[in-house]
C-alpha cells in the first residue's frame, strides 16, 4: 500500500532519471553533425551569405592537442565568419591510434558531419578512399591544392591515382639517432656518423670493443617500417610500386641482403635483445645501453630535454654503398576532407592555412605567438613545410639535430598494408632472435603477402583500376 506505492514511485522515478540522463547529457555538446541542419547537403557559402557563421567540424584522430586547439583559436579569430567545433580522440602510440581512426570511420559511416579530419598519413588516406569516405581535394580547390601538396614533405602518400586525397600536416621521418658524446668516448669521430653499411660495421665493432655490455645498434626487432630505409638505401624495394602494389618482391637481392645484415647484427650481438618501445627507448639511450637507435628524428628533442649534457645527433639511415642518395620512411599525419563534410570549400581553406608556412611557423614555435611550451611542440613530429624545417634547422640549436630533410618514400600502402607488415615483422623477429634462414623466411612471407595483395585487388577493384 503506501509503502508499496512509495517504492514503486521511487523505482520508476529512478529509472526515468537514469534514462533521461543517458539520453540527454548534461551539456549542450552536439556530436559531430548530428544536429547539423544541412547534413548530407553541403552548403558551402550560404551560411556566410546569410550572416550566420560557417560551422566546421574538425576531428583530430592523431593527437598534439595543445597546438591544434591554439591553431583553431587563431584561425577562428582571424576568420570571424567561421566557427570550428573541435573533436579529439585520445591518440597514443600503437593500438589506440587505430582506435582513433576506427572512431573516425564509424562517424563517417554514421553520416555524421566531419569537415576536416587529422589522420595518420601512411595507410589512412587509402583506407578512407577504399571506403569512399573521403573527397578528392583538387575537385574542390583545383591545381592550387596539387601545388601545395607537392611542396610539402611526405606528399607521396596522398597523391594517388592522379588525385590529391589529403594534405600532409606533420612529418615523422626515421633517422639514425646517435650519442655523439659516447662516440667520442670510444674514439669515434662524432662528426662522421656511419654513412654506409661498411661504416656501420666499423662503428659497431669499435663501440662493442670498448663497451661490451652496450648495444651499438638499437633497432625495433618486430617492426617493418624502421627496416624499410635500409632496404631502400640498399637499392631495393619490397613492392612493384610504392602505392597500391600488386606484387611482393621480398626475395629480391637487396631485400635479402638487408635482412642478412640484420641477422649479422644479432650474431655479433650489436643489436638489442629487449624490444624497443615508446616506454623504454629513452631509458635505453640515456643509460648508454644503446649507442644509437633507428627511430623518429624528433626523439632527439626528448633526449635533449632529459639529458642535456649529452650531445645527441641525427643522421640519415646508412646506405649499402657510398654515393647512394638516402631516402627514409616518413610517418606523421595528414588532413583529409571526409565524404560527410558539410562545408568542403571552407574546410579546404582551413587546411591550406594549416599547411602554410605561416601556420607551420606558429605550430613549431618559429613564431612564438601561440605560446606553446617545448613539450607541446615536441609532441607533434616535425614540420611538413620545407621552409619551416629549414628555418628551424638553421636557426634553432635544439631543432638542428631533430630535423632530417630527406625525401620519404611511400611504404607500399594498400588495404593489405597492416597485415603484410605484421608478416614481415614476425619474420624479422625470427631472423634476429632465432637466427632463422633469411631466404626461407622471406620466401614464405612473400607467398603469404602475395595472397593478401591478390585478395585486396579482388576486394577493391575500383581502387586498383585507375592506378
Amino acid at each position: 500500500m503506501p509503502s508499496y506505492r512509495r517504492i514503486q514511485l521511487l523505482a520508476l522515478s529512478t529509472v526515468a532519471l537514469l534514462i533521461a540522463a543517458c539520453g540527454s547529457g548534461a551539456s549542450n555538446y552536439t556530436p559531430a553533425g548530428q544536429a547539423a541542419p544541412n547534413q548530407g547537403a553541403p552548403t558551402t557559402s550560404g551560411a556566410a551569405a546569410t550572416g550566420a557563421k560557417v560551422h566546421l567540424v574538425y576531428f583530430n584522430a592523431r593527437g598534439a592537442e595543445a597546438a591544434e586547439r591554439k591553431l583553431v583559436d587563431r584561425y577562428v579569430k582571424d576568420h570571424p565568419d567561421i566557427e570550428i567545433e573541435y573533436l579529439s580522440t585520445t591518440s597514443m602510440a600503437g593500438p589506440s591510434d587505430t582506435d582513433a581512426i576506427a572512431n573516425l570511420i564509424f562517424n563517417i559511416q554514421a553520416k555524421r558531419v566531419v569537415d576536416v579530419a587529422k589522420i595518420e598519413v601512411s595507410r589512412t588516406p587509402l583506407d578512407l578512399m577504399a571506403a569512399d569516405a573521403t573527397k578528392e581535394l583538387t575537385v574542390i580547390g583545383g591545381d592550387a591544392v596539387k601545388t601545395r601538396a607537392q611542396g610539402l614533405l611526405n606528399s607521396g602518400y596522398v597523391i594517388v591515382n592522379n588525385g590529391v586525397w589529403a594534405l600532409p600536416y606533420e612529418y615523422d621521418p626515421f633517422g639514425y639517432i646517435y650519442n655523439a658524446t659516447l662516440f667520442k668516448d670510444v674514439g669515434l669521430d662524432p662528426d662522421k656518423p656511419p654513412q654506409t653499411w661498411a661504416d656501420l660495421r666499423t662503428t659497431n665493432e669499435a663501440i662493442k670493443a670498448k663497451m661490451p655490455n652496450a648495444w651499438p645498434q638499437c633497432h625495433p626487432i618486430k617492426n617493418t617500417a624502421k627496416t624499410l630505409p635500409y632496404i631502400w638505401n640498399a637499392g631495393g624495394t619490397l613492392w612493384d610500386r610504392d602505392v597500391l602494389p600488386t606484387k611482393a618482391l621480398f626475395t629480391a637481392p637487396a631485400v635479402s641482403a638487408t635482412y642478412k645484415f640484420l641477422a649479422e647484427w644479432a650474431q655479433k650481438q650489436w643489436i638489442n635483445t629487449d624490444e624497443i618501445t615508446g616506454d623504454n627507448q629513452l631509458q635505453l639511450m640515456i643509460s648508454r645501453k644503446c649507442a644509437a637507435m633507428d627511430t623518429s628524428t624528433n626523439f632527439t628533442l626528448g633526449l635533449q630535454a632529459n639529458d642535456p649534457k649529452t650531445d645527441w645527433r641525427v643522421a640519415p639511415p646508412p646506405s649499402m654503398n657510398a654515393n647512394a642518395q638516402p631516402v627514409t620512411f616518413g610517418g606523421g599525419s595528414a588532413l583529409a576532407i571526409p565524404s560527410t563534410a558539410a562545408h568542403p570549400k571552407e574546410a579546404l581553406d582551413f587546411m591550406m592555412w594549416l599547411t602554410s608556412d605561416e601556420a607551420q611557423n606558429l605550430k613549431y614555435g618559429v613564431a612564438k605567438d601561440l605560446g606553446l611550451s617545448d613539450d607541446d611542440i615536441a609532441a607533434q613530429a616535425t614540420p611538413v613545410s620545407k621552409n619551416t624545417s629549414e628555418t628551424l634547422k638553421n636557426n634553432d640549436p635544439k631543432w638542428k639535430q631533430a630535423i632530417l630533410i630527406l625525401p620519404s618514400r611511400p611504404a607500399g600502402v594498400s588495404p593489405a598494408f597492416s597485415k603484410i607488415y605484421d608478416i614481415l615483422a614476425a619474420a624479422q623477429e625470427r631472423i634476429i632472435r632465432s637466427n632463422a634462414n633469411v631466404d626461407e623466411e622471406l620466401a614464405t612471407a612473400q607467398q603469404q603477402s602475395q595472397q593478401l595483395l591478390d585478395q585486396s585487388i579482388a576486394q577493391y577493384p575500383n581502387l586498383y583500376k585507375s592506378s
Binding site: 500500500m1 509503502s3 508499496y4 517504492i7 514503486q8 523505482a11 520508476l12 529512478t14 529509472v15 537514469l18 534514462i19 593500438p95 587505430t98 582506435d99 576506427a102 570511420i105 564509424f106 559511416q109 583506407d127 577504399a130 571506403a131 626487432i221 618486430k222 635483445t273 629487449d274 624490444e275 618501445t277 616506454d279 623504454n280 631509458q283 635505453l284 643509460s287 645501453k289 588495404p415 597492416s418 597485415k419 605484421d422 614476425a426 623477429e429 625470427r430 632472435r433 632465432s434 576486394q459
Partner: protein, 307 residues
C-alpha cells in the same frame, strides 16, 4: 507485509490469475528496481554477445558490408598456427596461475587467521596490490625486470649475469605468471580468510581436546569446511586467467617470438588492429565456449568430490 496481503486479497476476489502472472505482479517492485541494471545488461552485454556470435559467421570489416562466410572463420581459426600458439600459452599461463592463486592465498589465509604479531599490517600489505590497477602493476613489473631494471641490477651485484627476462621466450611467460599471482594473492586471501573465520571455534576446541595438533586441525577441519570457497576461487581464477590480456599487452606485446601472446590478445589484434571483426568474433565465440566448458567441468568435478 501489508503489500502482499492486499494484493493477494484483491486478486482473489475477482479472478484467479495464473501463478506465474501472480508471481510476476508480486515481483514488480523488484524488477523495477533491477531495471536500470537489466537495461544496461541488455545494451552492453547481452546484445553485443549475441551480435558477436552472429558476426563470427561473417567476413566483416569497417570498409564494406559484412559477407556471410558460414564456418569460414572457424575453419581459418583451427588452421591458424598463431591461434594454437596463443591457446597453448594461455593454458600454460592459466595452469600455473590457477595453481598459485588457489594454494598460496589459502596458505596465507591460514597463517593470517592465527594470532600473529602485526597481523593487521600483514593483511593490509598483502591486500595492497589488489587496489592497484592492472596497468600500474604491469608497468611496475616491466620496469623491474627490464634489461636495465632493478632485478638485473641486484643480481649483478650478487655476481650473476643480467638475465634477458623479456627477450628469452623461456623466461617472459614466468614473469607474467609471477606478476599475476602477486597481484591477486591478497584478493583470494581475503576470501579464504572470511571463510576461515566462519569455522566455529568449538570444532577446533573439540579437536584440541582429542589431541589433534594445530596442523591436523587446519588440514582436517579448516580446509574441508572452506571447500566451497576453494571451488569458487578455482572457478574465478580459471575464468580470469583464461582471459589474459593486459599483462602481455603492456609488458611484452605478446613477444618474444609470440611466447606470451594470449587468446584474448590475438582476438584484440584481429578485431581492433586488423579490423577483422568477423574473425575476431570467431575467436571470442570459441573462447566463450571454452570458458563455459571449463566452468562446467569444474562444477562436475566439485560435485563428484563433494558427493
Amino acid at each position: 507485509m501489508a503489500v502482499s496481503v492486499e494484493s493477494v486479497g484483491t486478486s482473489g476476489l475477482h479472478s484467479r490469475p495464473s501463478s506465474f502472472a501472480n508471481t510476476l505482479r508480486k515481483s514488480q517492485p523488484a524488477y523495477i528496481l533491477l531495471s536500470p541494471y537489466l537495461i544496461l545488461f541488455v545494451i552492453v552485454l547481452a546484445y553485443p554477445l549475441v551480435y558477436a556470435i552472429y558476426l563470427s559467421f561473417f567476413d566483416a570489416t569497417l570498409n564494406r558490408a559484412p559477407t556471410f562466410v558460414g564456418a569460414g572463420n572457424f575453419i581459418q581459426l583451427f588452421t591458424d598456427a598463431e591461434f594454437y600458439t596463443a591457446l597453448r600459452n594461455t593454458f600454460f599461463f592459466a595452469f600455473f596461475v590457477v595453481l598459485g592463486e588457489t594454494i598460496l592465498p589459502l596458505a596465507m589465509a591460514l597463517a593470517m587467521n592465527e594470532r600473529l604479531p602485526f597481523r593487521a599490517l600483514f593483511r593490509t600489505a598483502f591486500f595492497l596490490p589488489v587496489v592497484c590497477s592492472w596497468v600500474v602493476v604491469s608497468l611496475l613489473w616491466a620496469l623491474l625486470f627490464a634489461q636495465q631494471g632493478l632485478v638485473n641490477s641486484v643480481i649483478q651485484v650478487l655476481g650473476v649475469a643480467p638475465q634477458p627476462f623479456f627477450s628469452n621466450p623461456g623466461q617472459a611467460m614466468w614473469i607474467l605468471i609471477a606478476t599475476t599471482i602477486w597481484r591477486n594473492l591478497g584478493y583470494y586471501m581475503v576470501i579464504y580468510l572470511a571463510a576461515l573465520q566462519g569455522v566455529p571455534q568449538d570444532l577446533y576446541d573439540a579437536a584440541s581436546v582429542d589431541g589433534a595438533t594445530r596442523w591436523r586441525q587446519l588440514w582436517h577441519i579448516a580446509v574441508p569446511l572452506v571447500r566451497p570457497v576453494i571451488y569458487f576461487v578455482l572457478t574465478i581464477s580459471i575464468i580470469t586467467s583464461m582471459q589474459l590480456f593486459i599483462q602481455p599487452f603492456i609488458m611484452t606485446n605478446g613477444g618474444p617470438l609470440n611466447a606470451t601472446i594470449s587468446v584474448v590478445q590475438l582476438l584484440y589484434r584481429h578485431a581492433f588492429v586488423q579490423l577483422e571483426f568477423g574473425y575476431g568474433s570467431a575467436i571470442a565465440t570459441f573462447l566463450l565456449v571454452l570458458l563455459v566448458a571449463l566452468a562446467l567441468i569444474n562444477k562436475r568435478v566439485h560435485d563428484l568430490v563433494v558427493r
